[in-house]
């Protein structure tokens, strides 16, 4: 019987996610505060940014969503993310979240799936990049 892990191939590109990031979502994520580069536009401009920025960690949440779709419960319990933030993400930006399966390795009777992950903005510029993994059990 074919299992989930059999259907995942090294080199496979995962279905991408597209996220249009509104100020309201940034406000909900970061909690509105004075003197915040995320929720106070005047403060963000005073610090040299063109407008408010999304928190970098919002991009890790998008990677988490993509990995949960791939690995299911084995990402919620057993998943990892390691990313570097390359460029700021601004309110109103549209990010595309992408992943390519890099390797599959045996671990604790299951298979750990490692994925190269990255986010691109609407100009095609990488804003974050790194690696994520999840553990898929042999019986899944």
């Amino acid at each position: 019987m074919a299992t989930v892990i059999d259907a995942i191939a090294v080199g496979q590109e995962l279905p991408s996610l597209v996220k249009e990031i509104s100020q309201r979502q940034i406000d909900a994520y970061s909690v509105v505060r004075a003197k915040s580069i995320h929720t106070d536009e005047a403060w963000a401009k005073a610090k040299g940014f063109r407008t408010t920025l999304a928190q970098g960690m919002m991009s890790t949440a998008y990677v988490s969503e993509m990995m949960t779709k791939l690995c299911g419960a084995g990402f919620v319990k057993g998943g990892t993310i390691s990313v570097a933030f390359i460029k700021p993400v601004y309110a109103g930006d549209r990010l595309t979240v992408r992943g390519i399966v890099k390797e599959k390795t045996a671990e604790n009777g299951g298979t750990r799936v490692a994925v190269d992950v990255w986010c691109e903005n609407q100009h095609g510029e990488k804003t974050a990049a790194g690696m994520a993994s999840g553990l898929i059990s042999a019986t899944t």
Partner: protein, 140 residues
Amino acid sequence: MTDFPKLTYEALAIGEEFVSNEEIVTPEDIDTYAFAVDDHHPWFSGPSPFGGPVAHPTFFANQALRMRHTKYVVHAGLHAKMQFQFLEPIRPGMRVRSRGRIIDKYVRRGKKYMVTEFVTEDQGGRPLVRGQFTQMLIEG
């Protein structure tokens, strides 16, 4: 009374420890997070492989980041890197806090960085998430 100095590179000491406030995981907060990151997975509000609803794996990332606010005024910083290990699902009703420690600080290309490791635990001290974040300090 407690002094809250501004977070500056000079004020930080490697080995310095932080503890967040305790927070209760509520269905409303799980829903708000889902809105913020535009991820409405059915496990966030209904049955899951873990026997009931769970929060988004990155749900408490900001709690870890805000540990520093219990000792400093943190006006602005840019995330440079983020690592997570998701060890156990986060469930509604849990009382959760994060503990962390500065493990490095450095200057690169004239910019100042701090590196913090953290663990997010439930009320029984069971680790839910471990991780590490690197922040570029924006002072002033």
